[in-house]
Protein backbone atom coordinates (compact mmCIF):
# COMPACT_ATOMS: atom_id res chain seq x y z
CA UNK A 1 0.00 0.00 0.00
CA UNK A 2 1.29 3.41 -0.95
CA UNK A 3 -0.45 6.57 0.22
CA UNK A 4 0.33 9.73 -1.72
CA UNK A 5 -0.76 12.94 -0.02
CA UNK A 6 -1.18 16.08 -2.09
CA UNK A 7 -2.47 19.55 -1.33
CA UNK A 8 -4.70 21.75 -3.37
CA UNK A 9 -5.34 25.00 -1.49
CA UNK A 10 -7.13 23.92 1.71
CA UNK A 11 -7.88 20.41 0.49
CA UNK A 12 -5.85 17.29 1.19
CA UNK A 13 -5.95 14.64 -1.52
CA UNK A 14 -5.03 11.09 -0.55
CA UNK A 15 -4.29 8.75 -3.41
CA UNK A 16 -4.46 5.14 -2.29
CA UNK A 17 -2.33 2.71 -4.23
CA UNK A 18 -2.83 -0.99 -3.50
CA UNK A 19 -4.79 -2.72 -0.74
CA UNK A 20 -6.51 -0.97 2.16
CA UNK A 21 -6.92 -3.79 4.69
CA UNK A 22 -6.27 -4.60 8.36
CA UNK A 23 -2.52 -4.28 7.86
CA UNK A 24 -2.45 -1.05 5.92
CA UNK A 25 -5.39 0.82 7.49
CA UNK A 26 -3.44 2.06 10.56
CA UNK A 27 -1.05 4.01 8.30
CA UNK A 28 -3.96 5.62 6.44
CA UNK A 29 -5.64 6.39 9.77
CA UNK A 30 -2.48 8.10 11.02
CA UNK A 31 -2.07 10.25 7.90
CA UNK A 32 -5.69 11.31 7.67
CA UNK A 33 -5.94 12.01 11.43
CA UNK A 34 -2.81 14.11 11.34
CA UNK A 35 -4.16 16.13 8.39
CA UNK A 36 -7.40 16.87 10.29
CA UNK A 37 -5.49 17.77 13.47
CA UNK A 38 -3.44 20.20 11.41
CA UNK A 39 -6.58 22.00 10.33
CA UNK A 40 -7.56 20.27 7.09
CA UNK A 41 -11.34 20.10 6.86
CA UNK A 42 -11.65 19.11 3.21
CA UNK A 43 -10.46 15.72 2.06
CA UNK A 44 -10.56 13.82 -1.22
CA UNK A 45 -9.73 10.13 -1.30
CA UNK A 46 -8.69 9.21 -4.82
CA UNK A 47 -9.35 5.48 -5.34
CA UNK A 48 -8.12 5.22 -8.93
CA UNK A 49 -5.37 2.78 -7.97
CA UNK A 50 -7.09 1.23 -4.97
CA UNK A 51 -7.28 -2.51 -5.68
CA UNK A 52 -8.99 -3.65 -2.58
CA UNK A 53 -10.76 -2.50 0.57
CA UNK A 54 -12.01 -4.39 3.64
CA UNK A 55 -14.16 -3.33 6.60
CA UNK A 56 -10.92 -2.18 8.29
CA UNK A 57 -10.61 0.47 5.57
CA UNK A 58 -14.30 1.37 5.88
CA UNK A 59 -13.76 1.87 9.61
CA UNK A 60 -11.22 4.66 8.94
CA UNK A 61 -13.52 6.40 6.47
CA UNK A 62 -16.44 6.17 8.90
CA UNK A 63 -14.30 7.68 11.67
CA UNK A 64 -13.05 10.43 9.35
CA UNK A 65 -16.55 11.34 8.14
CA UNK A 66 -17.71 11.64 11.77
CA UNK A 67 -14.78 13.91 12.70
CA UNK A 68 -15.24 16.14 9.65
CA UNK A 69 -18.96 16.53 10.23
CA UNK A 70 -18.24 18.01 13.66
CA UNK A 71 -16.03 20.72 12.15
CA UNK A 72 -18.25 21.43 9.12
CA UNK A 73 -15.73 19.72 6.90
CA UNK A 74 -16.27 17.37 4.01
CA UNK A 75 -14.90 14.17 2.51
CA UNK A 76 -15.44 13.00 -1.07
CA UNK A 77 -14.26 9.77 -2.70
CA UNK A 78 -13.54 9.40 -6.39
CA UNK A 79 -12.46 7.19 -9.29
CA UNK A 80 -13.49 3.85 -7.84
CA UNK A 81 -13.65 0.50 -9.62
CA UNK A 82 -17.24 -0.82 -9.74
CA UNK A 83 -16.52 -3.78 -7.51
CA UNK A 84 -14.90 -1.52 -4.90
CA UNK A 85 -17.93 0.76 -5.03
CA UNK A 86 -20.16 -2.24 -4.43
CA UNK A 87 -18.55 -2.73 -0.99
CA UNK A 88 -19.54 0.84 -0.08
CA UNK A 89 -23.09 0.23 -1.34
CA UNK A 90 -23.49 -3.08 0.51
CA UNK A 91 -22.30 -1.37 3.69
CA UNK A 92 -24.64 1.59 3.20
CA UNK A 93 -21.62 3.92 3.17
CA UNK A 94 -22.59 5.53 -0.14
CA UNK A 95 -25.43 7.30 1.70
CA UNK A 96 -23.08 9.46 3.79
CA UNK A 97 -19.90 9.36 1.67
CA UNK A 98 -20.22 11.06 -1.72
CA UNK A 99 -18.57 8.97 -4.44
CA UNK A 100 -17.91 10.67 -7.78
CA UNK A 101 -16.31 9.54 -11.02
CA UNK A 102 -13.10 11.59 -11.09
CA UNK A 103 -10.83 13.94 -9.15
CA UNK A 104 -12.09 17.07 -10.89
CA UNK A 105 -15.69 16.29 -9.89
CA UNK A 106 -14.53 15.52 -6.34
CA UNK A 107 -12.91 18.95 -5.99
CA UNK A 108 -16.08 20.56 -7.39
CA UNK A 109 -18.22 18.58 -4.97
CA UNK A 110 -16.27 19.95 -2.00
CA UNK A 111 -17.32 23.46 -2.96
CA UNK A 112 -21.05 22.67 -2.89
Amino acid sequence: MEIIEKRENLTAIFQLNGRLDSNTSPEFDEKITSAIENGTNFIVVDCKTLDYITSAGLRILNKTAKKLKKVDGKIVLCSMEDYVKEVFEISGFDTFLPIVTDLEKALEKLKT
Binding site: D51, T54, S55, R59, K69, Y83, S91, T95, F96
Partner: protein, 140 residues
Protein backbone atom coordinates in the same frame (compact mmCIF):
# COMPACT_ATOMS: atom_id res chain seq x y z
CA UNK B 1 -12.56 -29.55 -9.02
CA UNK B 2 -10.05 -27.31 -7.34
CA UNK B 3 -9.31 -27.14 -3.70
CA UNK B 4 -7.06 -25.15 -1.43
CA UNK B 5 -6.48 -25.69 2.28
CA UNK B 6 -4.53 -23.14 4.28
CA UNK B 7 -3.47 -23.33 7.88
CA UNK B 8 -2.76 -19.90 9.32
CA UNK B 9 -1.62 -18.61 12.69
CA UNK B 10 -3.91 -16.14 14.47
CA UNK B 11 -1.83 -13.16 13.39
CA UNK B 12 -2.34 -10.29 10.96
CA UNK B 13 1.12 -11.13 9.62
CA UNK B 14 -0.52 -14.06 7.82
CA UNK B 15 -2.62 -11.76 5.62
CA UNK B 16 -0.02 -11.42 2.87
CA UNK B 17 0.38 -15.21 2.64
CA UNK B 18 -3.38 -15.58 2.64
CA UNK B 19 -3.69 -13.00 -0.12
CA UNK B 20 -1.04 -14.65 -2.34
CA UNK B 21 -2.62 -18.09 -2.00
CA UNK B 22 -6.13 -16.87 -2.74
CA UNK B 23 -4.74 -14.93 -5.71
CA UNK B 24 -3.17 -18.10 -7.18
CA UNK B 25 -6.38 -20.04 -6.55
CA UNK B 26 -8.39 -17.40 -8.39
CA UNK B 27 -6.03 -17.42 -11.35
CA UNK B 28 -5.97 -21.25 -11.53
CA UNK B 29 -9.77 -21.38 -11.53
CA UNK B 30 -10.35 -18.58 -13.98
CA UNK B 31 -12.21 -16.35 -11.56
CA UNK B 32 -12.93 -12.91 -12.98
CA UNK B 33 -11.32 -9.87 -11.33
CA UNK B 34 -14.54 -9.13 -9.54
CA UNK B 35 -15.02 -12.72 -8.36
CA UNK B 36 -11.41 -12.90 -7.14
CA UNK B 37 -11.86 -9.55 -5.35
CA UNK B 38 -14.99 -10.80 -3.59
CA UNK B 39 -13.36 -14.09 -2.63
CA UNK B 40 -10.38 -12.22 -1.11
CA UNK B 41 -12.69 -9.91 0.75
CA UNK B 42 -14.85 -12.68 2.22
CA UNK B 43 -11.87 -14.73 3.35
CA UNK B 44 -10.03 -11.78 4.84
CA UNK B 45 -13.13 -10.57 6.73
CA UNK B 46 -13.68 -14.06 8.17
CA UNK B 47 -10.01 -14.46 9.08
CA UNK B 48 -9.62 -11.03 10.75
CA UNK B 49 -12.88 -11.58 12.61
CA UNK B 50 -11.57 -14.84 14.06
CA UNK B 51 -8.22 -13.41 15.11
CA UNK B 52 -9.86 -10.32 16.63
CA UNK B 53 -12.57 -12.02 18.67
CA UNK B 54 -12.11 -15.79 18.97
CA UNK B 55 -9.15 -15.94 21.33
CA UNK B 56 -8.71 -14.48 24.78
CA UNK B 57 -5.73 -16.49 26.00
CA UNK B 58 -3.02 -14.59 24.12
CA UNK B 59 -1.65 -17.88 22.77
CA UNK B 60 -0.90 -19.02 19.27
CA UNK B 61 -3.74 -20.83 17.49
CA UNK B 62 -4.18 -22.33 14.05
CA UNK B 63 -7.04 -21.43 11.76
CA UNK B 64 -7.92 -23.59 8.78
CA UNK B 65 -9.33 -22.07 5.62
CA UNK B 66 -10.72 -24.19 2.81
CA UNK B 67 -11.66 -22.94 -0.62
CA UNK B 68 -13.09 -25.11 -3.34
CA UNK B 69 -14.51 -24.53 -6.76
CA UNK B 70 -16.49 -27.34 -8.37
CA UNK B 71 -18.80 -26.98 -11.35
CA UNK B 72 -19.29 -23.30 -10.70
CA UNK B 73 -20.00 -23.84 -7.02
CA UNK B 74 -17.63 -21.83 -4.85
CA UNK B 75 -17.29 -22.93 -1.23
CA UNK B 76 -15.36 -21.18 1.53
CA UNK B 77 -14.89 -22.81 4.92
CA UNK B 78 -13.21 -21.74 8.14
CA UNK B 79 -12.36 -23.75 11.22
CA UNK B 80 -11.09 -22.32 14.50
CA UNK B 81 -10.82 -23.46 18.11
CA UNK B 82 -11.90 -20.12 19.56
CA UNK B 83 -14.85 -19.27 21.79
CA UNK B 84 -18.22 -20.36 20.36
CA UNK B 85 -19.46 -17.75 17.90
CA UNK B 86 -22.12 -18.10 15.24
CA UNK B 87 -21.73 -15.32 12.64
CA UNK B 88 -24.70 -16.68 10.67
CA UNK B 89 -26.98 -15.66 13.56
CA UNK B 90 -25.79 -12.05 13.77
CA UNK B 91 -28.20 -9.23 13.04
CA UNK B 92 -27.88 -6.97 10.03
CA UNK B 93 -26.09 -3.74 11.02
CA UNK B 94 -27.74 -0.35 10.66
CA UNK B 95 -27.15 0.61 7.02
CA UNK B 96 -28.98 3.90 6.83
CA UNK B 97 -29.27 7.20 8.66
CA UNK B 98 -26.67 9.87 9.43
CA UNK B 99 -23.00 9.01 9.89
CA UNK B 100 -23.16 9.63 13.68
CA UNK B 101 -25.46 6.62 14.06
CA UNK B 102 -23.32 4.22 12.03
CA UNK B 103 -21.29 1.60 13.79
CA UNK B 104 -18.62 -0.45 12.14
CA UNK B 105 -19.16 -3.59 14.22
CA UNK B 106 -20.74 -6.44 12.31
CA UNK B 107 -20.02 -4.92 8.93
CA UNK B 108 -17.44 -7.55 7.95
CA UNK B 109 -19.89 -10.42 8.54
CA UNK B 110 -22.61 -8.50 6.73
CA UNK B 111 -20.31 -8.07 3.70
CA UNK B 112 -19.59 -11.84 3.70
CA UNK B 113 -23.31 -12.67 3.78
CA UNK B 114 -23.99 -10.29 0.90
CA UNK B 115 -21.11 -11.52 -1.25
CA UNK B 116 -21.96 -15.20 -0.79
CA UNK B 117 -25.34 -16.95 -1.10
CA UNK B 118 -25.35 -19.01 2.08
CA UNK B 119 -23.59 -19.13 5.45
CA UNK B 120 -23.88 -22.14 7.75
CA UNK B 121 -22.41 -22.58 11.19
CA UNK B 122 -21.82 -25.56 13.42
CA UNK B 123 -19.94 -26.14 16.63
CA UNK B 124 -18.20 -29.51 16.66
CA UNK B 125 -16.31 -30.41 19.84
CA UNK B 126 -14.27 -27.30 20.55
CA UNK B 127 -14.39 -25.92 17.02
CA UNK B 128 -16.35 -23.28 15.14
CA UNK B 129 -16.98 -24.53 11.63
CA UNK B 130 -18.35 -22.07 9.11
CA UNK B 131 -19.26 -22.86 5.51
CA UNK B 132 -20.22 -20.32 2.86
CA UNK B 133 -21.29 -21.12 -0.67
CA UNK B 134 -22.02 -19.28 -3.86
CA UNK B 135 -22.91 -20.34 -7.39
CA UNK B 136 -20.76 -18.56 -9.92
CA UNK B 137 -22.28 -17.54 -13.25
CA UNK B 138 -20.91 -19.56 -16.20
CA UNK B 139 -17.71 -18.05 -17.64
CA UNK B 140 -18.27 -16.26 -20.90
Amino acid sequence: MGQLTLKLRNSLEEIDRLFENVQSFGEAHCLSRKQAFQLHLVIEELFTNIISYAYQDGKEHWITINISCDNGQLTVGTEDDGIPFNPAATKKPNLSGPVEDRKIGGLGIHICKEMMSSMKYKRVKNKNILTLTKTLPPAG
